[in-house]
């Protein structure tokens, strides 16, 4: 027998009144949970989308004359040292400090060359790449058929080129007198890559005598994608720190989207704060009227030996539990709402994601609302004189 058990009995056996208070707690928590879940989903979706369309930073040779840019838009016959990769990584790591998002560095060597098949010949671009880095950075870069190269002299070709050369899987093409086995055909991406041949960077360097050289170094990092100012300082540091290179931003649009998302998030958080404040006032009124209806009970408890502090504790426990229950319920409703909103309205392709930090925040907000709203009425009613409580004709 203690105050805590009395509080629990009070909540469980006074369901009608408990539900009113619970609803007042659930509303702001559910709104908060919905908004944060939706924003988080949008953020993740945007991040995935951004990764589909390319890299964060592209590093290319500093001076490129117009004739060094192939009709496919890639830099040929101008190179940067492969050793620069170490410096690039150092600079980016210094900028990002303790951020744990991976830094993906994908060097490419572009060679304009003749490509011979059994029946035809064409000029195109051979790209020597690091397949693992490319696939990590671009999960949407997929094959239409076949597999990714595993050995030297294996290659994949873009769909447009495969169609032009009437290439199919396991056929051979000759590049610079070396035979390459075509093991995969890329899906069409409506980009210059649809007309290229891709093989290992090392193989391309060897057959064209370009050991230690690359045409571009692509870099991807999620934090840089999201933070415009960080991205700009990374570009400045790279341009300052490595001679004869030029770091550029190939996809400003995704950064802009993140900035928009951040602004939207700030606006929505303002709405949440307003809702929380409004709910605290509503809850204050509900708690006051609930305690007023329990005024004879308060008198009876005091007559039975309860001090004001014990009564305060009793009510504190009750509202703490309400806040806790409201937090859990509000979080669950918020997650569900966020999913439904996405399914029927936003359609950004999110799924139900449980997040421990968001859960902790919503729980905290639920308890905070409940305790802030109930503190003053609880204090006031706990301090009521016994004789005052029995002058008021309300139901126990």
């Amino acid at each position: 027998m203690d105050i805590l058990s009395l509080a629990i009995k009070d909540i469980l056996r006074r369901k009608g009144k408990s539900i009113y208070i619970l609803i007042a707690v659930v509303i702001p928590v559910a709104i908060l949970s919905t908004i944060i879940s939706t924003i988080r989903n949008a953020d993740t979706t945007l991040s995935n989308l951004a990764s589909k369309f390319g890299f964060t930073i592209m590093i290319q040779p500093k001076s490129i004359s117009a004739d060094r840019i192939d009709q496919l838009g890639v830099v040929v016959d101008e190179y940067i040292s492969e050793a620069s990769i170490v410096t690039v990584k150092d600079i980016i790591m210094r900028i990002l400090q303790n951020n744990r998002d991976p830094i993906i560095i994908a060097p490419r060597l572009y060679i304009k060359t003749e490509i011979d098949t059994k029946n035809s010949r064409t000029t195109s671009i051979l790209a020597g790449i690091d397949f693992k880095a490319e696939l990590d950075a671009r999960p949407s870069w997929n094959l239409l058929e076949g597999r990714w190269p595993e050995r030297d002299y294996e290659a994949v070709v873009g769909k447009t080129l495969a169609r032009a050369l009437k290439l199919s899987l396991e056929e051979y093409v000759t590049i610079n007198n070396k035979e390459f086995n075509i093991v995969g055909i890329l899906k069409e991406h409506n980009s210059p890559e649809d007309q290229m041949v891709f093989t290992f960077l090392r193989t391309a360097q060897q057959i064209f005598g370009k050991i230690g050289l690359v045409s571009v170094i692509n870099l991807q990092n999620v934090l840089l994608d999201r933070d415009d100012s960080l991205l700009r300082s990374a570009v400045e540091d790279l341009n300052r720190g490595i001679p004869n290179i030029k770091a550029i931003l190939p996809r400003q649009f995704s950064t802009m989207k993140y900035i928009m998302l951040k602004k939207t998030f700030k606006f929505l958080i303002t709405i949440v704060i307003a809702t929380v404040i409004f709910s605290i006032f509503s809850l204050f009124n509900i708690v006051t009227s609930s305690l007023y209806s329990r005024i004879r009970e308060i008198g009876l408890l005091k007559l039975s030996g309860a001090s004001w502090l014990q009564l305060f504790k009793l009510f504190f426990y009750e509202y703490l539990f309400m806040g806790l229950a409201g937090g859990i319920l509000g979080y669950s409703i918020g997650i569900l709402m966020s999913y439904l909103l996405d399914s029927f309205l936003l359609k950004i392709g999110s799924e139900i994601r449980l997040n421990i930090v968001l859960f902790a925040i919503t729980l905290f907000i639920g308890i905070l609302c409940s305790l802030l709203a109930s503190y003053y009425p609880t204090y006031k009613f706990s301090k009521k004189k016994i004789t005052e409580t029995f002058r008021t004709q309300w139901e126990v």
């Binding site: 027998m1 203690d2 105050i3 058990s5 009395l6 009995k9 009070d10 469980l12 056996r13 006074r14 004879r296 009970e297 009876l300 408890l301 005091k302 007559l303 039975s304 030996g305 309860a306 001090s307 004001w308 014990q310 004189k385 016994i386 004789t387 029995f390 126990v396």
Partner: protein
Amino acid sequence: MNRNTVSERPFLELKNVTKIYNTFAGTIEALKDVSLKIHIGELIALVGPSGSGKTTLLNIMGALDRPTQGEVWFEGTRIDILSEKQLVDFRRHKFSFILQDARPLRMLNVLENTLLPFYFFKPQSSKNIKEEAIEIIKSLGLGHRIYHMPNQLSGGENQRVAIARALITKPSIILADEPTANLDRENRLFVIKTFKRLTEEKGITVVVSTHDLEIANFADKIVYLKDGVLLKISTQSVPSEDRTSP
């Protein structure tokens, strides 16, 4: 203990107590210079019409309210000047209160309502308090209602639960404000006879305010009040033909 063992030394004494309420309509003198001595084991009835000051007097006796003037002494301690914290301790161990509308807490069953005080402080007795509560409940004729909720009980049964709760702390004095007002005759007599038995067998002092002179006749002393003035204290029972007013 029976009435022959009633101590000559008062254990609750009111000295020239006056209580004035300040309201928007002006001041109301609820008690005017009331002096009263109550001894251990007495059953006292406070009688008088509505507004005569019965409840105010009970509140002051039980230290629920402080007099505007005068003194209240309990077992040699002046209780009207004690702090709220000291009064809480007095209420826990010395006083018990029963009210006219003594509906128990509706979220607790009969046993839990009887044990209500011990949610807030530890019992003094080392005996199993739950068994003790069940004994008290049975002695009040509620043995078959131990785990029933208040809304399953009649008015008279609820009043008995209030008495059980009042007894569980083994108080020196029980202050009951119109405890029989809403009851039928059978339950009224049950309640007052229970009080009588408590004074005689356990030496508990009981002060009851009532309109009902049939009930008042069970008392050792009848205190007549009118307009806040103590008219007289009588040890004589009221003749049946004179049971309408003091």
